[in-house]
Point group: C2
Chain length 341, copies 2
Amino acid sequence: MGKKSSIYDIAQKLGITASTVSRALRDHSNISEEVKKRVNEVARELNYKRNAIAVNLKQGSTRTIGVVIPQLNRHFFSSAINGIEEVASEAGYNVIICQTRNDVRQEKKAVQMLSESVVDGFIISVVTDVSDYSHFRNLQDQGIPVIFFDRYPMSDEFKRVSIDDFLASSQAVTHLAAAGRTKIFHFAGDQSVSIWHERTRGYVSAMKQLGITVKPDWIFKDTLNLEAGMQAVERMILSNNIPDAIFSSSDHPLLGALSAFKKHGFRIPKDIAMVGYGNEIFSPFTEPPMSTVDQHSYEMGKLAFTNLLKCMEGAASEVPKQSVLPHELVIRGSSFLPDKP
Amino acid sequence: MGKKSSIYDIAQKLGITASTVSRALRDHSNISEEVKKRVNEVARELNYKRNAIAVNLKQGSTRTIGVVIPQLNRHFFSSAINGIEEVASEAGYNVIICQTRNDVRQEKKAVQMLSESVVDGFIISVVTDVSDYSHFRNLQDQGIPVIFFDRYPMSDEFKRVSIDDFLASSQAVTHLAAAGRTKIFHFAGDQSVSIWHERTRGYVSAMKQLGITVKPDWIFKDTLNLEAGMQAVERMILSNNIPDAIFSSSDHPLLGALSAFKKHGFRIPKDIAMVGYGNEIFSPFTEPPMSTVDQHSYEMGKLAFTNLLKCMEGAASEVPKQSVLPHELVIRGSSFLPDKP
DNA sequence: ATTTTTTGTGCAATCGATTGTTTTTCTAAA
DNA sequence: TTTAGAAAAACAATCGATTGCACAAAAAAT
């Protein structure tokens, strides 16, 4: 009990050298079957576990990557992580996940601690209010590869994987217009975050294209969570400023809005049509089911890792600065009037 | 550029020894202010980063804990992780998260790899179909502390943090009976998992207490996900075996059931009352809002880490085998008829 | 029978930081 | 001027595994 055993313990017990033990355990071809067998026996006997830290120190590689994301409790992120883990485990890599909880200091801390030789590379989705990229530049300086996904820094010095948020948003708005809506409001996120900026751009551009003038009070810039959605609706009602459609940069505030509107007796989609973003678990089950942009998060995670792997293996030049994946506008009841009246 | 710098590089540049540099960087009292200042200057100049792996190897401790859970995309788990991280970061510990995706092999692999000297302790919620605890026993043998939470192994050799699932389930069932329901069905999980077994026990016991005979086809043992809930309802309807209430061991299948029942024209809670388990993000927003058992996951995460910390600091004897936290039966519209008809 | 090749091991350095034990340097008291 | 004592820095071992090189023994070729 107690005291982990090392290759030296095994070596001593067998009267051979640690180097021989090391090679035997790794099934090196220079070691006789006889010795290999005895080494493995003793190893089991002593409950020997390879010390990963010593290996890492020696090899300068940990075969571990760090995934740094704002929050875990979004379907988008947990699903992207599943994609990352899928491909990573095939390639023999371990995945460490760190949550920044939308706090730049935590992001810096996580990147700092993981980069202290713990990981070989990073997959990062940046925090909301990032405006200072020094910690990311630091990684570049140290030669640690990084792939950003979804929320990327707005600077083209970094590689990223994403969908075309601008296009997806335009399509969503165009779809609402095609359903006969003109007073289309928009829930926007913090504009310093790339994707939310893009989504808002897409909304504005599509509206212009459609010849609809967007009034300033049609756009609600706020945290993209449930409560914000509910509050936005209360404000609309108080100021008697009611839309006939909403395009939201996230499904979460839209869920809040849906609930609030229904509480006030509005009918969805008859009075107000809605399209969200993210295709959360709950989205197909709201009433009516929520139309939304599916970002194919699982695929995005897979591609992020594939690209990272290339960078780690020194083929960074094969990885484009920007990989754009296809998205999907999922149309459900919240923006679609069934034929029968 | 490239090539990380070590304390040796700093030492060489200043014509002093690495040990002096090491002490200077750690602000050791034996080093003169003069030298400390110069060392720090050069360190910044060379963009020196302390190599965490080397430190770990030397010190035998990583100040990192591993959290091993079945899945990330459950509110319960992501919220528990937030609790763990909260307390851990205060105590100067880093948190590594691994997902097992309900696969024992992945669980074994994760525990194995993290235990190879990467973490000082574990917080684990076990996989569904675990029946072999050898990998956990291995940890005990190596003297690595482990705290289980929520889903714990059904063996009293391990320490755990949980709520009283038996009691909570009984209360839920009793609440449904108090609302005048007698034909109360139950969505049960894999009975080899502690908590699901407990919840089913709680259901059965409460029913017996209430003098209601549970028929075998009242209990639906299945994976606890959305699809299973929907399918269960289809089966009920096909066999014309309709309940007047359901107690589900998880909110997810209940969401599926809710949706399916409504599709078939049943009214909730008038025709069928429902109580779930987990208080997921969507639960307050279903229609009607879902009654459910809140497990206080954030608190559970915090306590799990606090207990683990004690064990890691050698005060394992202060930590009880079993810590039971309070739960809360959250009653919402799915099990509660408003007074007005 | 001698040389060459193959095969199996041991030796020792290495990864980067830490730390107990000298050794050197400096200060101040005798 | 000598020397005890403190302060500062160097020396060297250590953590555990890996790996190039050397070297011996056994097998094969001449």
